[in-house]
């Protein structure tokens, strides 16, 4: 499948000089945020925190502007923070009633943030697959 990379982490990351995981089994994620357009949505890998908000928001906007169902494959996403989740929720909520976002393979942390901060869920987002 042809994929077009639409973003990577904005700005260079300093190598880990300030903090070091205490052991080799520290759960390092598999690299920086990578977002690829695929089909009618996005495939996202890596981690979304304040370093990735801009890229994440831009990619979400671009894909929701195209119309139709938005499919997000988050099975390679290792982490997403509250603001990253809020960007998704807000953008989904702004979609017209007949459109929705279908999320596949969301990390456990995304489910946790949604369950705590948006306990009623949001009709504009459907989760597919595990959990």
């Amino acid at each position: 499948m042809a994929e077009h990379a639409v973003g990577s982490r904005s700005g260079p990351r300093a190598p880990a000089q300030v903090v070091h995981p205490p052991s080799a089994e520290a759960s390092r994620s598999d690299g920086p945020l990578r977002i690829a357009e695929c089909g009618v949505g996005l495939r996202v890998a890596g981690e979304i925190d304040l370093n990735g908000h801009e890229v994440w928001e831009r990619a979400l906007r671009r894909t929701t502007e195209r119309g139709g169902e938005v499919r997000l494959d988050l099975s390679e996403l290792a982490f997403i923070d509250v603001h990253g989740t809020a960007l998704l929720v807000d953008l989904a909520a702004a979609l017209p009633e007949d459109r929705r976002v279908v999320v596949r393979g969301a990390p456990a942390g995304l489910h946790r943030v949604m369950e705590v901060l948006w306990p009623g869920g949001t009709t504009a987002i459907t989760f597919e697959g595990e959990q």
């Binding site: 300093a14 903090v19 520290a26 759960s27 994620s29 509250v82 946790r112 705590v116």
Partner: protein, 322 residues
């Protein structure tokens, strides 16, 4: 012992403390209060520690079905969670109506680490519900609690109820409580691991703390919570606290403890306790943290802000508090 809404003050926050010294007095103080609410057609919630919840449930009989019963020792373990997670949720579900709540956030057995957060919560209620049609009575066990707790209750409640009846509190001064209890946290132990994180090393800090949590035996669910919590605290430091946060992590007998210190100052006393739609980014992060940790303590001032979170260590010999 029933509380009577004052005429002509429809949107008034009525916030009495109810001092009880026996199980009988507890029921004499709470049951008529609940029944008055039900008689008025008001939505009623009772959020008290489990042993008292059981007594209320039995005394209400079938009436219990019309009351939302909440185990405060669970839902209110972290006092910072009570306003957004319990009280606003209940009040906001009944817009335009007076709601009636019994809330008992302070009981014998609250730890020294928890107590200041409990008193801050009681003081903040007066701000959070000012001008709202909420009647909230807070029972205090005068035989089990120390004198400090009772004196603090007199400062956080404008009205006091005891065997003698209902009276105005001469010592009501929630602002003083907020000032007095906004004190520097006890120092982290020498064994604490200290690091600094900024924009470029936030991810590394998250991995580090999560790996530490795994090494001390937190569950998979707790590790997810820890990962999010430390990220949100450090994100606030990076955005609002001078671009970086110093974090320290250690364990005490029962908890993994992690604190984040920065040079910012928090000016909104209700930050992290407002519903999501009334919160900015910083507030949303703290709102999330409040709901997923077992305790959050905070100190803020001109020198900066420290937020400290506690996650209970899984421990077979750990007994639940009495």
């Amino acid at each position: 012992m029933t509380s009577v809404p004052v005429l002509g003050t429809e949107d008034r926050f009525d916030h009495p403390a109810m001092f009880y010294s026996s199980a009988e007095e507890y029921l004499e103080g709470t049951i008529p209060f609940i029944e008055t609410g039900l008689g008025n057609g008001e939505p009623v919630a009772v959020a008290v520690p489990e042993h008292n919840l059981g007594a209320v449930r039995r005394a209400l009989g079938t009436g219990a079905e019309r009351v939302l019963l909440v185990d405060m020792s669970e839902a209110g373990a972290n006092p910072g969670r009570i306003i957004p997670g319990v009280l606003r949720t209940f009040a906001d579900a009944h817009p335009g109506r007076r709601v009636r709540i019994i809330g008992e956030p302070i009981w014998p057995g609250r730890s020294e680490d928890e107590y200041p957060a409990c008193v801050q919560h009681e003081a903040l209620l007066n701000i959070a519900f000012n001008g709202r049609p909420v009647t909230k009575m807070c029972p205090y066990d005068v035989t089990g609690l120390d004198r400090r707790a009772i004196a603090d209750a007199e400062a956080t409640h404008p009205v006091l109820i005891d065997r003698a009846g209902r009276r105005r509190s001469d010592r009501f001064d929630p602002d003083r409580i907020l000032t007095d209890y906004n004190r520097p946290l006890t120092r982290a132990p020498l064994s604490a691991i200290e690091r600094v994180a900024d924009y470029a090393t936030l991810d590394n800090a998250r991995w580090f703390v999560t790996a530490y949590g795994r090494s001390v035996g937190l569950t998979a669910m707790q590790l997810i919570d820890l990962e999010i919590a430390v990220t949100e605290l450090l994100t606030n430091s990076i955005h609002h606290g001078g671009g970086l946060g110093t974090f320290r992590v250690w364990t005490d007998r029962h908890h993994l403890v992690c604190e984040v210190n920065d040079s910012g100052r928090i000016t909104d006393p209700l930050v992290g306790r407002r519903p999501i739609d009334e919160s900015g980014d910083q507030g949303r992060g703290l709102l999330l943290v409040n709901q997923i940790v077992d305790l959050m303590r905070m100190h803020t001032g001109p020198e900066g802000t420290t937020a400290r979170i506690y996650l209970r260590l899984p421990s077979p010999e750990l007994e639940p508090p009495e």
